[in-house]
């Protein structure tokens, strides 16, 4: 519980600091540090449920500081967390290269998801070359920042938790449990 609180504070701090950094390094060249914390939670957090409870409020906090619809980042961050949590239990994402590829692909997916939800709920935008271009650039920057941010999440979990980091219990997802375990 203590580690959940500290990881939440880390996510919140990353969210606030990245807003100030973005004034000097404008998007898409500024990494989404708070999203990387969420991906880090998905990849390294030992408990699925407690991770879920940390991710949702962080997503809503991002919505409050961003120009998005309320719930848009929360939805996409929840999806990112679910994918990361499942992927970390199915694939070997312990090395730098697999994590980089994963973060890059997830950033592209995140950009597409934002464009699609915006188009669906507000009728604005949609998928276009500029969305793809922004996502590509943002993906590269996120890959650079991913290593230190995920390591930071790991350190916070190790520091405040007794559970072993990186060793994930099988997800309790009802009928799918056997397949994922």
């Amino acid at each position: 519980m203590k580690s959940a609180g500290f990881v939440f504070l880390l996510g919140l701090a990353a969210l606030i600091v990245q807003g100030a950094i973005a004034r000097t390094i404008p998007p898409p060249w500024c990494p989404d540090l708070s999203w990387l914390v969420i991906v880090g939670i998905g990849l390294r957090w030992p408990g699925f449920l407690s991770g879920l409870l940390v991710v949702v409020p962080l997503g809503y906090a991002m919505d409050l500081l961003s120009g998005s619809m309320m719930g848009q980042h929360a939805f996409m961050r929840l999806v990112s967390y679910l994918i990361a949590a499942v992927a970390s239990r199915q694939l070997d994402l312990s090395g730098a290269l697999p994590v980089s590829v994963f973060v890059f692909a997830m950033t592209l997916l995140y950009g597409m998801g934002i464009a699609l939800t915006l188009s669906l709920f507000s009728g604005q935008g949609g998928l276009g070359a500029e969305v793809f271009g922004s996502a590509l650039a943002h993906g590269m920057v996120n890959v650079i920042a991913a290593g230190p941010m995920i390591a930071l999440v790991e350190r916070v979990i190790v520091r405040f938790s007794d559970e072993e980091v990186g060793r994930h219990a099988p997800l309790s997802l009802g009928s799918q449990r056997r397949g994922l375990g």
């Binding site: 807003g19 100030a20 000097t24 120009g67 619809m69 679910l82 500029e130």
Partner: protein, 324 residues
């Protein structure tokens, strides 16, 4: 039963959270019937925490940048001074001619009286945070409801329009920039008076969609606010026409506009403490007495702030802006 709950607990919780976020998005698209955008305390607290921390984090970076900018500015200050002195002389001469024309037409006194009526109080405020997601364009300001800032207030710099306030807490305000895909402003070509809609594209440029395909718009024209949508006062600079394009078989044409303000380098901006009738409908308050209080709102805008009279006032305000 407990076994079933244990088995389905996590998938149900995941489904609940996914549904919650989707419902939040749907609810957010109905601002007129939904809750007001002056955020409840549990949402406002995020803005309240973020604004001062952002300011502290930005301070050393801003300091270093200002020092460098000041040094660079000093290098060309003599030439710039000479150029400005020449420009002042030209403008003074022009001003004299205009005054002369006004006096001869007997309208100077009326213009002076009108200025007091239409003057809008401006609140200087610092941009402390920028939207980090490249798909949205918004900024965080360090002034909020306590200083008289309300959702729907226009945000400007001396160069032109920046955007509009979309949500406030006590000491912070979130502002949607013109560049955002969700932004649309009723606009005019200053030279030909052709009217159209200026939309954000999510990129560094804006799109001006003409109402009439044959409208007289050429590269280099200044685009200003029309005042007709009731959000911005008439005549504020929005940008300059950079390129003309056909709108893919539609009846309208599109001009690509370079924004008047460099929206990537915002530092100090001004909030116009006035709200137009259109925004009044969008951000209708459940507690009208809250909108009416506060020393910063001018008396002539208080009637506009009452939600019951919003739609009735709309046509009058539009006429007023058009006339000014």
């Amino acid at each position: 039963m407990p076994d079933l709950l244990k088995r389905l607990g996590v998938p149900l919780l995941v489904a609940f959270f996914l549904l919650l976020t989707i419902i939040s998005m749907v609810a957010d698209r109905r601002p007129a019937s939904g809750p007001e955008r002056e955020l409840p305390w549990w949402q406002a607290i995020v803005l309240e925490i973020a604004a001062p921390i952002d300011r502290i984090v930005s301070a050393p970076i801003d300091g270093a940048r200002r020092f460098f900018d000041d040094y660079v500015d000093l290098l060309g200050v003599r030439a710039e001074n000479r150029r400005l002195q020449r420009r002042i002389a030209e403008i003074e001469s022009e001003n004299l001619q205009f005054r002369e024309a006004l006096v001869t037409s007997g309208r100077l006194a009326r213009v002076a009286a009108m200025r007091d009526e239409v003057e809008i109080p401006m609140l200087p405020t610092e941009v402390v945070g920028l939207d980090v997601a490249p798909w949205f364009h918004s900024v965080l300001l360090d002034r909020g409801a306590r200083h008289g800032v309300r959702p729907g207030h226009p945000v400007v710099t001396w160069e032109g329009v920046v955007g509009v306030v979309t949500a406030t807490s006590a000491h912070a305000a979130k502002t949607m920039l013109l560049l955002d895909r969700q932004s649309a402003v009723d606009a005019l070509d200053q030279r030909s008076r052709s009217r159209g809609m200026l939309r954000g594209t999510g990129r560094d440029q804006l799109e001006f969609e003409f109402v009439v395909r044959t409208a007289d718009v050429v590269v280099g024209d200044e685009i200003v606010t029309s005042g007709l949508a009731g959000v911005y006062p008439k005549g504020l600079r929005l940008g300059r026409v950079a390129e003309l394009r056909d709108a893919g078989g539609r009846l309208t044409r599109i001009a690509i506009i370079e924004p008047a303000v460099d929206l990537g380098k915002l530092e100090q901006v001004f909030v116009m403490l006035r709200r137009g009738p259109t925004m009044e409908l969008l951000y209708r308050s459940n507690r009208p007495e809250e909108d009416l209080e506060g020393p910063v709102l001018p008396e002539d805008t208080l009637d506009d702030a009452a939600p019951d009279s919003a739609s009735a006032d709309a046509s009058e305000a539009v006429v007023g802006e058009g006339a000014s």
